[in-house]
């Protein structure tokens, strides 16, 4: 459910008001708002299915219809603007019957097996059916039966559960500008289809999973690694180690009833230790490592006249997007692997050696806010250890479900610490989870490495927050360094087109595929909306502030890793294990 946003309140203050009659009550609402918004301002959350925050209105599901006196037909409140004097009825007999019939018709072409569905408990169709007290479906008839599309390493499509609200299509088009899917056919035959009717795995889909967050039902979900992880845990031959991404600790409390934005680091560690992992480590350790490598890469390019701007490479959705749509910028993209993959490569080499374990017996599992990580860990380039560096990647949702299956309530857990040494990290790594975080972390280190001076103000506020494209200029050794941060691929496109056209002044650009950065990733708990994203971001900076060390190059475990194993940043061994290359992909 969308709350009244500050933007809506602002609108209310600056715009003139009109009087309408809502269910017989006289109310004043801002001119120009939709009936749906007006109702919500008055505390009536008119049910919707095709309406979704941040997307263009569609008006197709007809769930939000209301009765407007003087109009013979019901009107869809999501696409109708208020006019002064309007008399609106939101729960008249006609309205209730229409909405109920909408639901029955949708359900009449829907598998009624909620227990077998990924979205059991978080499905909007299911809750509406409950709220409307649907007890039978009066209109039975032909049903479409489709094959489930399991071709993608990240996203499973079950068209049988699709209600054709188009939220995924609009998300993919309007927010991400990927356009991997669209409506195909027409009438009762209408389906959502990947490009050219091919399976999703053969499309330009970048695996970001924003469509899953947008989907009201179980038509879109992640490809599950849960069974494989259980098997690994239950296999006595396997040494199973876990890494948890920066964004997971601020969101995994949500499925357990904690409010969005609750920091649960210690409880999370305790919970996964009890789930049976042999070691519980932190992707943040590898995030610090990424900063060292990427920071040095940036410094080298800056000093040796290398390709600039340098663009970050932590977000596998963005990487695939680049390979499809901006292959000409390939050399601008950092060769650094993402923290997930750096972790895997270090774990199966350095850590395996340290422990004296054969890496073939080691299973590296990640918990990620991300669906593209499933794709990333299976890429051919990600086998630096001689094995697949990261074996399985769970989304936050899957991980929470595993805890629930075992009967672990995260809320009740004690606070515990990550294991040594791959669990030690700084505040700079923590902020990776939010848009602007990688840039901020990099600037903290690059500044100190280049100037040799201590950076007093470590908070770079100008790169934080939900603005689509953020800019900052930092003076280092008398040189102005221009940086930009974009999150959401539609925003990224704006920056990238400038770079492509040679109009960009930037030296360093951070791009995250998902709005808000990783805390808004496609693997995060549902719902994920603007308000929840902002709360998770707040929590991320809370983690940063709470840590004694806030710069990656101060991480003692990282220092030890270079001394004992890697040698120099960007050195030969580091390059072999921690860097990668990209492949151009077809644009169609």
């Amino acid at each position: 459910m969308v709350k009244v946003t500050s933007e809506m309140r602002e609108k209310a203050q600056t715009v003139s008001l009109v009087t309408i009659y809502l269910d017989g009550r006289e109310v004043r609402v801002p001119e120009g708002v939709t009936l749906l918004e007006a109702c919500r301002m008055e505390g009536i959350h008119v049910p919707t299915l095709c309406h979704f925050e941040g997307l263009s209105p569609w008006g197709g599901c007809r769930m939000c219809v209301v009765e407007v006196e003087g109009q013979p037909n019901l009107v869809a409140s999501c696409v109708t603007q208020v006019r002064g004097g309007m008399r609106i009825w939101t729960s008249s007999k006609k309205v209730r019957e229409a909405r109920k019939t909408n639901l029955e018709l949708l359900l009449s072409n829907h598998p009624l097996d909620c227990q077998l569905c990924d979205r059991n408990g978080s499905c909007e169709l299911q809750s509406l059916a409950y709220q409307f007290g649907i007890r039978e479906i009066r209109f039975q008839g032909e049903r479409k039966v489709y094959e489930v599309d399991q071709s993608s390493p990240s996203i499973k499509r079950d068209p049988n559960r699709c209600i054709l609200c188009g939220r995924c299509v609009r998300t993919c088009r309007e927010i991400q500008t990927v356009c991997a899917i669209d409506f195909a056919n027409r009438g009762f035959e209408t389906v959502i289809s990947p490009s050219l009717g091919l399976p999703l795995g053969e499309s330009v889909c970048v695996n970001c999973g924003q469509c899953i967050l947008a989907c009201p039902t179980g038509a879109l979900s992640e490809v599950s690694h849960v069974e494989m992880v259980w098997d690994a845990i239950n296999d006595p031959q396997k040494f199973v180690i876990l890494q948890t991404a920066p964004a997971v600790r601020v969101s995994i409390g949500e499925p357990f009833g904690l409010p969005p934005g609750t920091v649960t680091t210690g409880k999370m560690v305790a919970a996964f230790r009890r789930l049976g992992f042999d070691r519980v480590f932190d992707t943040n350790f590898a995030a610090d490592l990424t900063i060292i490598e990427e920071g040095h890469e940036f410094i080298a390019r800056l000093q040796q006249g290398g390709k600039l701007p340098l663009i970050t490479s932590c977000s596998p959705g963005w990487i695939k997007f680049m390979e499809h749509f901006y292959p000409e910028l390939m050399e601008n993209v950092s060769t650094c692997k993402s923290p997930q993959q750096m972790f895997g490569a270090v774990a199966k080499t350095y850590y395996a050696q340290k422990l004296g374990i054969d890496p073939k017996d080691m299973v590296v599992v990640s918990i990620m806010p991300c669906t593209a990580k499933k794709f990333e860990c299976q890429r051919d380039e990600m086998r630096a250890s001689g094995f697949q560096d990261v074996d399985f990647s769970l989304t936050t949702r899957e991980a929470a479900r595993m805890l629930q299956e075992k009967g672990i309530d995260l809320k009740e857990m004690p606070e515990e610490d990550f294991d040594d040494p791959l669990g030690i990290s700084t505040g700079a790594a923590a902020v990776f989870g939010a848009t602007g975080g990688v840039m901020e972390a990099a600037l903290r280190s690059v500044y100190e490495i280049l100037t040799g001076k201590t950076l007093e103000k470590v908070d770079f506020y100008s790169v934080r927050g939900m603005d689509g494209v953020k800019e900052a200029t930092v003076e280092i050794n008398g040189m102005e360094i221009h940086v930009a941060v974009a999150h959401g691929l539609g925003n990224a496109r704006k920056v990238l087109d400038e770079v492509k056209a040679g109009r960009s002044k930037y030296h360093f650009i951070e791009i995250m595929a998902c709005p808000g950065g990783c805390i808004g990733g496609g693997g995060q708990p549902i719902p994920t909306n603007l308000e929840i994203r902002m709360k998770r971001i707040e929590a991320i900076y809370q983690v940063d502030r709470s840590l004694p060390l806030r710069k990656s190059h101060e991480n003692p475990a990282i220092k030890r890793l270079y001394e004992e194993f890697l040698g120099e940043p960007n050195g030969e061994r580091a390059h072999h294990l921690l860097h990668t290359h990209y492949v151009p992909r077809e644009r169609m």
């Binding site: 991997a180 669209d182 056919n185 027409r186 490009s195 169609m588």
Partner: protein, 153 residues
């Protein structure tokens, strides 16, 4: 470049001045090639810089655009009311019997595809059908056989 892509290029060139020529291009390419193969749709998408999912969405929306191979002659039998009440079902049945296929299918020799369609706008000569872009009206069993014989040669 294969023949089909050369043709596509020529069609695209013809509509270079047009603002939103996608549908025009799809129609014209199909006219030449009978249907719109997946690769051709992808090629058109790339050339027009329109997402291929969008192109596919358009190509599958319209009844006269085919994304799967069809016969040399596409027979479209009108099933709307003015033909229906003058025996359109008999027309369809006769065609099925004569061609040995059901609606939506193509004869094994690749010559005929049988489809039903909405009103062709020649209700004055109902029942009617269209073979490619030629319309036939006042159809009786004999006349249908006559027309088919013409196309069979």
């Amino acid at each position: 470049m294969s023949l089909v892509y050369q043709d596509v290029e020529a069609v695209i060139a013809k509509y270079r001045e047009e603002k939103t020529p996608l549908l025009c291009i799809l129609e014209e390419v199909q006219e030449k090639w009978g249907y719109l193969p997946r690769d051709v749709l992808g090629y058109i998408a790339q050339r027009l810089e329109i997402p291929s999912s969008t192109v596919y969405g358009v190509a599958t929306f319209y009844a006269f655009l085919e994304t799967k191979p069809v016969g040399k002659y596409v027979i479209r039998v009108c099933r709307s009311a003015p033909c229906h009440v003058r025996g359109a079902m008999n027309v369809l049945e006769t065609l099925k019997k004569e061609l040995g296929i059901r609606e939506g299918e193509t004869t094994r020799d690749g010559k005929f595809t049988l489809e039903v369609t909405s009103c062709l706008g020649v209700c004055g000569v109902a029942p009617a059908m269209m073979i490619n872009d030629v319309t036939y009206g006042n159809l009786t069993e004999d006349r249908i056989r006559e027309v088919l014989a013409f196309y069979r040669d």
